[in-house]
């Protein structure tokens, strides 16, 4: 069947369990935390400088790093559960050319990750904009800044989801896939940075933050390429793995 059919099938596959609701709930929770922080939160010195300028507000609503992490967990769960529940069997029966089936799945999961990133940013922006009137500051971000934060979060979400899905495909066990994702994004990077300090700006979460336009050493374009590379590497490994191992 055409790839469009396969991708639509995978999207329906993602939409017909409670997982989207669960991740949606996390997004709403994170946005609420940001909204509450705007009203009651202060900096170390008791001031409210963290919302006092457009740039400060941008770094508050920059959701890319969250999107990367959240979408990676989403992707890892979505891909690994196909093996846990044996639904991968039907997928590969319908499309015995396994790389094709996997690419359709990664595309769908990547799209879902982009939506997570977009929604996460949108909810956060709304929460912050809705709570700023309770402070002395107005909404200071330009439309361009908002668009940029949205776009980068969508990109980070898509990349994170592909990275997670690739790990899920490699590990094939939901608990193991979630652990592998946490290790790859949260636990391993500081350890690597300890050993090689130049690596600090190249770890996924740092790249996601840099890409959101928070001033730093790494430019936006470079950061985006870096994030994509973090997704592509495990994706290629996963394509190789599904080709050479048994489905069941």
């Amino acid at each position: 069947m055409t790839s469009t059919h396969l991708i639509r099938s995978q999207l329906l596959n993602l939409a017909t369990t409670r997982m989207p609701v669960a991740f949606g709930a996390v997004i709403v929770l994170l946005a609420t935390v940001n909204g509450v922080a705007v009203v009651v939160g202060t900096d170390m010195d008791g001031s409210k400088t963290f919302i006092s300028s457009g740039a400060d507000q941008q770094s508050l609503v920059a959701f890319a790093a969250n999107a990367l992490m959240l979408a990676a967990l989403f992707g890892a769960t979505a891909a690994a559960r196909e093996y846990a529940h044996n639904t991968a069997i039907a997928t590969y029966l319908i499309t015995p050319r396994r790389p094709r089936a996997l690419l359709a799945q990664l595309t769908a999961i990547g799209a879902a990750g982009a939506v997570l990133g977009l929604l996460g940013t949108a909810c956060t922006v709304v929460a912050v904009a809705a709570t700023l009137p309770f402070t002395d500051y107005g909404f200071l971000m330009s439309a361009t800044d908002v668009l940029r934060v949205l776009a980068v979060a969508a990109f980070a979400g898509a990349s994170g989801a592909v990275l997670g899905a690739a790990l899920g495909t490699l590990v094939r066990n939901t608990g193991g896939a979630v652990s592998a994702t946490v290790v790859a994004l949260v636990i391993a990077p500081p350890v690597v940075v300890q050993l090689v300090s130049e690596a600090a700006r190249w770890v996924p979460m740092a790249l996601a933050t840099a890409a959101s336009g928070i001033p730093g050493e790494t430019g936006t374009a470079t950061s985006l390429v870096g994030i994509a590379a973090w997704a592509l590497l495990p994706a290629l490994l996963a394509v190789w793995a599904v080709q050479r191992r048994d489905v069941v």
Partner: protein
């Protein structure tokens, strides 16, 4: 997507596979004819599922080939439209409804979504049940849902791993009618079971394996009609002659022989030539169960899946 009857069904040739150095399928060869229901029988762990996985390109064979209508599964022009499969009794996300499970598959296989309700009706899953989460289904309902998935594309070949497992007698009768109707349309049907009693009234042909090796294959009629009962006052004389002719002869009592491996006509002729009187010469239909037990050393009647 059904095409006209095809002259070849499934062909398995010298198939061999090891897991972690242990051979679980050994040099297995057999064919499955279209227009008939073939039982794939063997005790638990004898390699039935593994063989089916290799046939469907889900697992790689170490040696040998398996083809569907003369093509490897992955080389079929429309694999899902050609072969309907039930492999695992529980290959569903528990949180998804049965109906949505089928909608996902229909979309991938390019089947119109109206077909989903058709197959649900065919397998007897009520619309309300189909909208419930699969996690709430009984084993029998899951089997029906699996079967519905296998029928989505109305494929001319069915490969079903233990489809009767978990079905009540009513469900088994419905399964039999359904598979019979498809075989009559010239379709190829392979049904595995470790419980002979479950499928003995369902199948025309059997392929029996044990320990990953072929034990026997043929029609149910051939397997069960292979012995003859002979009553004669000159039993020892006739027995010796029949043994010379290559038959396997057992003495049931002083006057009764059970002869296998030689046709009734040849037994009769041998008696005539020896001038031995025959009081009875009749085909002895052993039950498939007896044959199965003799061949695999497994009764398969009472054990659970």
């Amino acid at each position: 997507m059904t095409t006209a009857a095809h002259h070849v069904g499934l062909t398995v040739t010298h198939l061999t596979k090891s897991y972690a150095g242990t051979e679980v399928v050994h040099d297995l060869s057999f064919t499955v004819r279209p227009g008939r229901i073939t039982g794939f029988l063997g005790p638990n762990g004898s390699g039935k599922s593994t063989t089916m996985k290799m046939l469907l390109d889900l697992a790689a064979a170490d040696h040998g080939t398996a083809t569907v209508r003369d093509a490897r599964y992955r080389d079929l022009s429309h694999p899902a439209g050609t072969v309907g499969v039930v492999l695992e009794p529980n290959a569903f996300h528990p949180g998804r409804s049965g109906r949505n499970h089928l909608r996902v598959l229909a979309l991938a296989a390019g089947v119109p979504s109206a077909r989903v309700d058709e197959v649900l009706d065919t397998v007897g899953l009520a619309p309300r049940a189909a909208r419930r989460r699969v996690g709430t289904y009984s084993l029998g309902m899951k089997q029906r849902l699996s079967l519905a998935a296998a029928l989505l594309t109305d494929p001319p070949v069915l490969v079903l791993d233990e489809p009767a497992n978990g079905l009540d007698p009513q469900g088994i009768r419905e399964l039999r009618d359904l598979l019979r109707a498809r075989a009559e349309r010239g379709h190829t049907v392979l049904v595995s079971s470790h419980l002979l009693t479950e499928v003995q009234h369902l199948v025309d042909d059997v392929v029996v394996i044990s320990g990953g090796r072929l034990v026997t294959s043929g029609t149910v009629a051939d397997l069960t009609d292979s012995a003859a009962l002979v009553r004669t006052p000159d039993a020892p004389v006739l027995a010796a002659r029949l043994a010379d002719l290559g038959a396997r002869v057992e003495h049931s009592d002083a006057e009764t022989l059970v002869v296998s491996g030689l046709g009734l006509d040849k037994i009769g002729r041998a008696a005539l030539e020896l001038g031995v009187a025959l009081h009875e010469l009749s085909p002895q239909a052993s039950s498939l169960e007896d044959v199965f037990f003799a061949l695999t050393g497994s009764t398969t009647t009472h054990e659970e899946a």
